[in-house]
Symmetry: C2
Subunit: 254 residues, 2 copies
DNA sequence: AATGTCGTTCGGCAGAAGGGAACAGCCACT
DNA sequence: AGTGGCTGTTCCCTTCTGCCGAACGACATT
């Protein structure tokens, strides 16, 4: 970050750069961090030792790694949404019956965040995991969510972000996107036809409150090569929607 | 923290104090934080706005809350242990068949950390959740772990911590504790007889590698009032041990 | 309309974070 | 076993910056 706005605490920004670096590199040493962030060794060491003394970083075999203490912050943030507990078992069930990957998403700062993810027997590895963020406009979960949003909020979203292309199938035209959302509203579920990752499709449905407000969304992703089989074997859209409804009921009475 | 050791970055310590405060208070405002931490409003504001711009804190309805971005750090730390994926489904199953609460623990800095927790039908609410830390000496998971530790590591642990009493049943005597561990080694599982929370018992078993190294532990907690029934209905120690063994196998081939 | 509370912004100063170099500890390699 | 090169760690010094206090602006409350 070159342009640091006044009133911001720079060392905090540095610390999180350090954290993100050792996260993305599965642990690192002092010199390593110093070089990567272009700071002196003493600076890197200062941050790492501070974080270690706070318990947010652990040092094992001479390499610094992200500590489990972040689980407490992370899980706490997740618990606020009152979705995790209810959605977990439904997602597990969905993954088991379909054999594919299932994810539960909520939205923060106009970005989709997976608060839970579970893999069925046949599920392929993807880049997404618990805590990772995705664009809303090119995912089944994201489109389900947007389609359930009040008009004003949807407007605010479209003002804020751009429908940037992730693959050749991503919907980037605003009008086409609004039509897509309309369609999703009508049918009650969203499809992702390789709009984020080539070769991967997904079926998603919004998770609503009893009052109709959208809390998040749930989806099942399937490789395109298997999508026909999966849809035939089990009516995927229907199953995903049913799971979403069950989660609504569970969250209401808890 | 009054005594700040040289070489430590103070603002990082402050930032995490801020984070922990807004976590423990389910969100807070600037003035609130400033008063609680005895810093000026501008300082609190600086930290909060920095954290917000980094996405680690979100501001909704004028209150700052812990952001979901910590999930990415937390889940990443958890994934390192290669236990979560394998243990999750086993824990779920254990919770379902017993109807009680089941938890999976690993150890970091001589503290037990719950990397997963799931509640069965009858499970009572406790103070523990994903990410929370517990003493090793007064929990079924912790004792299972310690009992499986090489002698040298156990020695290091006993040097480092004190067997402080949590309830009247906590084992605080070193000799008695070593005997307890011996017994646990013999029988292959650990019991917690209200040693951490009055009224709560638990059965735990260590999760080992094929080579015999201990990775963590799994346990089922049951209120004392129900323990007789549960143990009779299902041979709890046997079930917990079986789950632990299944996790070993799963982690080996993944 | 007035008062209290809150969040935000603005300078000024002191303290602290960062840089660099020197020290120490470790492993590998010869 | 000795040596070289790599680490991590510590030290001091400079200067930058994070902290404070106060003033401002935005609300809500009475």
């Amino acid at each position: 970050m070159t342009a640091s706005t006044p009133g911001r605490v720079q060392s905090v920004e540095t610390t999180f750069e350090v954290l993100e670096y050792i996260r993305d590199n599965e642990g690192a040493g002092v010199t390593d961090v110093a070089n990567a962030l272009s700071v002196s060794k003493s600076t890197a060491h200062g941050h790492l030792s501070t974080l270690t003394s706070l318990g947010y970083v652990v040092k094992t075999d001479g390499t610094y790694r992200v500590g489990l203490q972040f689980l407490e912050l992370g899980h706490h943030a997740r618990a606020r949404y009152n979705l995790y507990e209810a959605a977990k078992s439904e997602a597990d069930q969905l993954a088991q019956t379909t054999g594919e990957r299932c994810q539960v998403m909520v939205v923060e700062d106009f970005r989709g965040v997976y608060i839970y993810q579970t893999a069925g027997e046949k599920a392929v590895q993807t880049d997404s995991h618990i805590g990772s963020t995705v664009d809303l406009h090119c995912t089944a979960v994201g489109k389900s969510y947007l389609a359930s949003l009040p008009a004003a909020d949807l407007e605010a979203y479209l003002e804020d972000v751009s429908l940037s292309a992730r693959t050749e199938h991503t919907i980037t035209d605003r009008e086409a996107f609004l039509e897509e959302l309309e369609k999703i509203r009508d049918q009650g579920y969203a499809l992702n036809l390789e709009e984020r990752i080539t070769g991967m499709r997904a079926v998603g449905a919004p998770i609503l409150t009893e009052g109709g407000d959208v809390l998040g969304a749930i989806s099942v992703s399937v490789p395109t090569t298997r999508i026909e089989d999966t849809v035939h074997e089990s009516d995927l859209p229907e199953q995903v929607q049913r799971s979403a409804r069950v989660i609504t009921i569970k969250t209401t009475y808890s």
